[in-house]
């Protein structure tokens, strides 16, 4: 039996395999958008032919972080904002793994903002789902980095004086090679985009709009939702950075004005992933690092081989 035989497992997969057998019912509130992410992800996995054993889902903290509890795969429920560095290294260690990272808007665009920028810049081959409900939910309703200007909460009772983060534009300028936005209320689009993002060879960022029925009821009222790929009003080339940037700017401006634009905003299928770049410059071996330890024939150099510099 091989060491990581799950990675070569190419049988038919049923989405129910991604439902854990034993953990408690999800603790998300009734009507929470997070259910939509979970459902879409379970549906997308069979579409891309990935099994639970070859998938590593790394999450942050908060309601979104609980995704790894309700999704059956190898899971790493890390800490607030740190899902990306954990995910990056796991992918470098074993490129055969399907590595998906997920977190909320506070997690991804606030406390983990620095990691987001750098992971995008390096174009790691991982999929990153940000549950964007424009609010801190589990800590009970504080203003988040994506809350609109003027948003009132217990911590900003006079209304936030800050402009919200622009996640799509930030993602593009940071270097993501795939940027999309979808929403829990668009299950079919969400499933398609997730499958596409997982198959994308590079950093795929999905700003996933989720509603918070408890703390951010306004978010449910985002109407209408317009798919930029389906609408004749929004004709642009998703592979052109400049056009993508304009489109993102428009989408981000309209978000709080009564029109939510979703779909693919930028796709660069040509840029090599970070792992490939690292191999190309000789900074990483061809074979997965993790396999070495199980390979009885592997040769292990000793420091004694380096001592001639010290004589």
């Amino acid at each position: 039996m091989s060491v990581f035989s799950a990675i070569d497992d190419d049988r038919e997969i049923d989405q129910e395999e991604f439902t854990p057998g034993i953990e408690p019912q999800a603790t998300w509130c009734p009507g929470c958008g997070d259910f939509g992410v979970l459902k879409a992800l379970k549906q997308a996995m069979p579409d891309v032919g990935r099994t639970p054993d070859e998938t590593l889902l790394v999450t942050g903290i908060g309601c979104s972080g609980k995704l790894s509890s309700y999704f059956e795969s190898y899971g790493f429920h890390s800490i607030h904002g740190r899902s990306l560095p954990v995910a990056r290294a796991a992918k470098l260690a074993n490129p055969g793994l399907e590595v998906i990272a997920a977190g909320g808007d506070g997690d991804g665009y606030g406390i983990g903002g620095n990691h987001f920028m750098h992971t995008a810049r390096e174009n790691h081959d991982i999929t990153y789902i940000v549950f964007n409900n424009e609010i801190f939910g589990l800590t009970k309703g504080q203003t988040s980095p994506t809350s609109p200007k003027g948003h009132k909460s217990k911590t900003q009772p006079h209304g936030s004086a800050k402009d919200p983060v622009r996640p799509l534009s930030l993602s593009l300028t940071s270097g993501s090679s795939y940027v999309a936005r979808t929403a829990a209320v668009n299950p079919n689009q969400a499933r398609e985009i997730l499958a596409e993002a997982i198959e994308h060879d590079g950093f795929a960022h999905i700003d996933f709009l989720t509603q918070c029925p408890t703390w951010n009821k306004d978010a449910k009222e985002y109407v209408p939702y317009v798919d930029v790929q389906d609408s004749e009003d929004y004709d642009f080339d998703v592979t052109d950075r400049r056009e993508a940037a304009d489109m993102m700017f428009e989408a981000e401006s309209k978000l709080h004005e009564g029109e939510v634009l979703t779909g693919r905003f930028y796709v660069d299928g040509d840029r090599p992933s970070y792992g490939a770049e690292k191999r190309a410059v000789g900074e990483m071996p061809e074979e997965p690092l993790a396999e070495r330890y199980f390979d009885e024939d592997a040769e292990w150099e000793r420091s004694a081989d380096l001592l001639h510099h010290h004589r």
Partner: protein
């Protein structure tokens, strides 16, 4: 130590090649059969300022910096000259510093070579240095040489270091063979020729033109073992690689950067990966991610960067992910003194992060222990699924010592520790639903073997929340107690495993029946041991214990030591007696027997300071010869 020992100090400005010159000189002495030890002092700036390196060499083993030094090669600070203005315009009196700032520690009867080409009498006088008077008072032998002019004449001005080494060799009657062969190893072509010419010219002209007023000669030695010159950073990096570490992630911070750069240079060649990342939180989190995915991984930093790592460190404890972190201490708090050693991060590495600490902490005392304990750190981390911190300081990081080459000639260890194969996963404990019990309550030694993502049937959730045997978040009181007990219980098992090893990292020095004890930890061990030798020569009944395992604490060995003496002086480089505090906490009833000798001015102890501190402690007086030190009597006094 013998009375023939050489304590050579080369001083100049940062960026003047002081480091490389001293390294080569130390290597030449090693090749000549001597034991060597270097001590490095440098400011936190790229070029200019005052920097020095001491090379101590003797035919007897040397294990610390010496008491002062006996040969000063003062090269001036070439970066003190303003390149925008007249070439000879200097900034303030910086150029004088390499001479002026080193005179206080130069021993009586010492030799001074200074670069007359950079420092003339007028410049010295303007800076308030009356060299003649001080030389007479201290019986110093002063040789002003135009090293700069000589270098210019035969090559380039920057080669004045080479001229200084040539002059040193002539004054001490040393052979040039080893120095020349090292130059041949390191350079070629015109540069080599010019350097060789400068070396030989300086050597010949000093021999021919100067009347020597001193009669002191360099020691000779006959080490026949194959020797290598290594720094603590080399030893840690090589220890990690020999133990199968193939992933390192970090962010530059002095003095940790040294280990990071050495690993970055060598890892790709041996099939590993180095990642320089955006910050230290990411650095430790990456190491965690790589380890989770089945690679032996390491990260590290110095005080301020390690502070950022406290989050991932706690996560490693809770998820039981093997992880090795190194912490290279420098003077704190905050950014403190970036290039100065201190041992004041002890409590930080022991207790940082939330909750009860379930980690192991090692503090190597020298180059050999740096190598060995780094290897042990990986074994403990991967066998017990626990984070291990290797804490050392800027002193060990930069010091060079000769070690038998055979010491490093050991088998590499690719064993991933408590990790299952797919066949073993199939046979391992599963929940009735079929779920793999990654964190089962009742494994042998408290260690529940793990699976690696990608293995068939080994799925589990690793979480920083308290969790059930399958890894699901659980706040059940019964589960909580079982998990805490299991995680904490590993420390007892680790302690007994460390005790059973062939050699302990608690090292004693001196006669077993001595009346007094001196105890220390980490980098000050060599100095304390040398101080004990000096004290015993002076008639004192004293022995020493160097402690290198900090958590779990070697309670039995320390208890035995403290119990066997009248009173014990604890020597450490910090202002709040952190190691004494730890010892008191661990040993309880012996607390009143411990007194402290502390130093926290950014300089490691010299042996004579420990000697004086010990004498102060047994006299029961709290006056010390140096204001840079502090004596805290035992509570029982």
């Amino acid at each position: 130590m013998t009375d023939r020992e050489l304590m050579w100090r080369i001083a100049g400005g940062s960026g003047d090649g002081i480091d490389s010159t001293s390294q080569n000189f130390a290597k030449a002495l090693m090749r000549a059969g001597l034991c060597v030890f270097t001590h490095r002092h440098y400011p936190s700036r790229i070029r200019g300022g005052h920097t020095y390196v001491e090379v101590r060499a003797d035919d007897a083993p040397v294990r610390s910096r010496g008491n002062g030094f006996n040969f000063l090669l003062a090269l001036g600070d070439s970066f003190a000259r303003n390149p925008q203005a007249d070439h000879d315009t200097i900034y303030g009196n910086e150029e004088v510093k390499p001479l002026a700032e080193n005179l206080d520690e130069l021993n009586e009867g010492g030799i001074i070579v200074y670069d007359e080409g950079l420092l003339d009498e007028e410049t010295l006088a303007a800076a308030g240095v009356d060299l003649e008077a001080r030389a007479e008072e201290n019986d110093w032998h002063v040789y002003p040489l135009d090293l700069r002019g000589l270098a210019r004449e035969h090559g380039r001005e920057v080669m004045r270091n080479t001229a200084g080494v040539g002059a040193t060799a002539a004054l001490l009657d040393m052979d040039l063979d080893h120095i020349e062969s090292l130059m041949e190893d390191a350079m070629s072509g015109e540069i080599l020729e010019a350097n060789l010419e400068i070396l030989e010219t300086a050597y010949e002209s000093v021999k021919a033109d100067y009347e020597f007023t001193h009669d002191w000669r360099a020691p000779t030695g006959d080490h026949d073992e194959q020797q290598v010159l290594m720094s603590g950073s080399n030893a840690i990096a090589y220890g990690a690689m020999d133990e199968g570490c193939r992933f390192i992630s970090g962010y530059p911070m002095t003095p940790w950067t040294d280990v990071f750069t050495i690993m970055s240079q060598h890892l790709p060649a041996v099939g590993g990966v180095s990642e320089q990342v955006e910050d230290e939180i990411a650095a430790a989190a990456l190491a965690l991610g790589a380890s989770h995915a089945g690679v032996k991984a390491m990260s590290g930093s110095s005080g301020g960067g390690f502070a950022l790592m406290s989050e991932p460190l706690g996560l490693a404890e809770m998820t039981e992910t093997p992880l090795v972190l190194v912490e290279a201490m420098r003077a704190g708090p905050s950014t403190g003194m970036p290039t100065k050693p201190e041992q004041s991060d002890l409590e930080h590495v022991l207790y940082t992060s939330q909750g009860d600490s379930t980690r192991v902490v090692f503090a190597p005392a020298n180059i050999r222990e740096s190598y060995e304990q780094t290897r042990t750190a990986f074994q403990v981390a991967y066998n017990y699924q626990i984070p291990v911190v290797v804490v050392y300081d800027q002193k060990i990081q930069g010091e060079l010592r000769n070690v038998d080459e055979a010491f490093f000639d050991r088998e590499p260890n690719p064993d991933l520790g408590a990790t299952l194969t797919e066949d073993e996963i199939a046979e391992a404990a599963h929940h009735s639903s079929g779920k793999f019990q990654r964190f089962r309550h009742d494994p042998e030694n408290g260690v529940s073997p793990r699976s690696i993502p990608g293995q068939q049937g080994g799925r589990f959730l690793a979480t920083g929340n308290e969790h059930s045997p399958e890894g699901h978040i659980s706040e059940s009181p019964t589960n909580r107690v079982a998990q805490v007990n299991r995680r904490l219980g590993k420390l007892d098992t680790i302690r007994s495993e460390l005790d059973e090893r062939d050699h302990s990292h608690q090292t004693t020095h001196g006669p077993a029946d001595a009346e007094y004890g001196i105890m220390t930890w980490g980098s000050q061990q060599g100095t304390v041991f040398e101080a004990v030798d000096r004290l015993r020569e002076a008639g004192h009944s004293v022995k020493a214990l160097g402690v290198s395992d900090l958590m779990p604490y070697p309670e039995a060995e320390v208890t035995e030591f403290v119990e066997s003496v009248e009173e014990c002086l604890v020597v450490e480089m910090n202002a709040t007696a952190q190691f004494r505090g730890l010892t008191q906490k661990e040993l309880g009833r012996f607390g009143p027997r411990l007194a402290s000798l502390l130093k926290y001015n950014g300089e490691p102890f010299e042996p004579r300071e420990v000697v004086e501190g010990f004498e102060t402690s047994i006299d029961g007086e709290s006056t010390l010869p140096h204001e840079s030190m502090k004596f805290v009597p035992a509570a029982g006094d």
